[in-house]
């Protein structure tokens, strides 16, 4: 595998983790907001 393949492998793994973390942040904000309302 050339340099491009290496770069794409790293990008694919990084993109997966980053997208999941971005969505987790959105969910955590919603979770905290709902908890506040419940109180």
């Amino acid at each position: 595998m050339g340099d491009m393949g290496h770069r794409h492998l790293v990008l694919a793994y990084a993109a997966t983790i980053v997208i999941h973390l971005v969505y987790l942040t959105f969910v955590a904000i919603k979770y905290r907001a709902a908890k506040k309302v419940a109180k």
Binding site: M1, G5, A15, Y31
Partner: protein, 230 residues
Amino acid sequence: MKLWRWLWLLATLGVLAEGFRVALFLVPTDAEQGNVQRIFYYHIPSWAGMGLFFAINLGCSLVYLAVRNRNHALAIKADSLAVASAEMGVVFCFIGLVTGSLWGRAVWGIWWTWDARLTSTLVLWLIYVAYLLLRRFAAGPQMRTLAAVMAIFGYLDVPLVYMSTRWWRTQHPAPVFGGAPGSGIDPSMMPAVWWNLAGWLMWGIFVASMRYVSEYRAQKNEQDEALKAL
């Protein structure tokens, strides 16, 4: 956050870390594609996650439609889970498209092609994004019913996506699992598939369960406010 959720998150992170290690450092390198084939170990769990969460969304939408006039408590639960699972499915689908595109650029030399698999998957993603937009911007008591009906029609694209590489000739490779005789990957590569499949599905369940809680609380609060107003 409840204790069981912390324990689940801890177990999930452990499985994901092991999956990462096995995928990158333990399983052998593919003879044809080299290291870029390791994208497969993150690509496949995304599709499995998408399939699981869109199926949950379908089930919840059917339950919602069946009980919405008889059992309001169950209807709220079903609808909240439908939202949580649709969002999680959209996230997994998006990751599948992104990792697939990166992999395609490395092995086919192109980011995208309008073959049956890729196009039907993009359409599927757009259908569920439209479902979420409908829920976000439509108002009125019929919104949830409309969304549930849309989810049922939207799910019709899932078997089409799954079968597309069997029914049509595509740039996308033939099915690796459940395909023609002789398909599949070398057994020595399977641990990376299992660890990552387990890890990402556990992650999806964790995040979707948190999203379910917030959506349920919001809907319950909305209902309580409406009852108070009466």
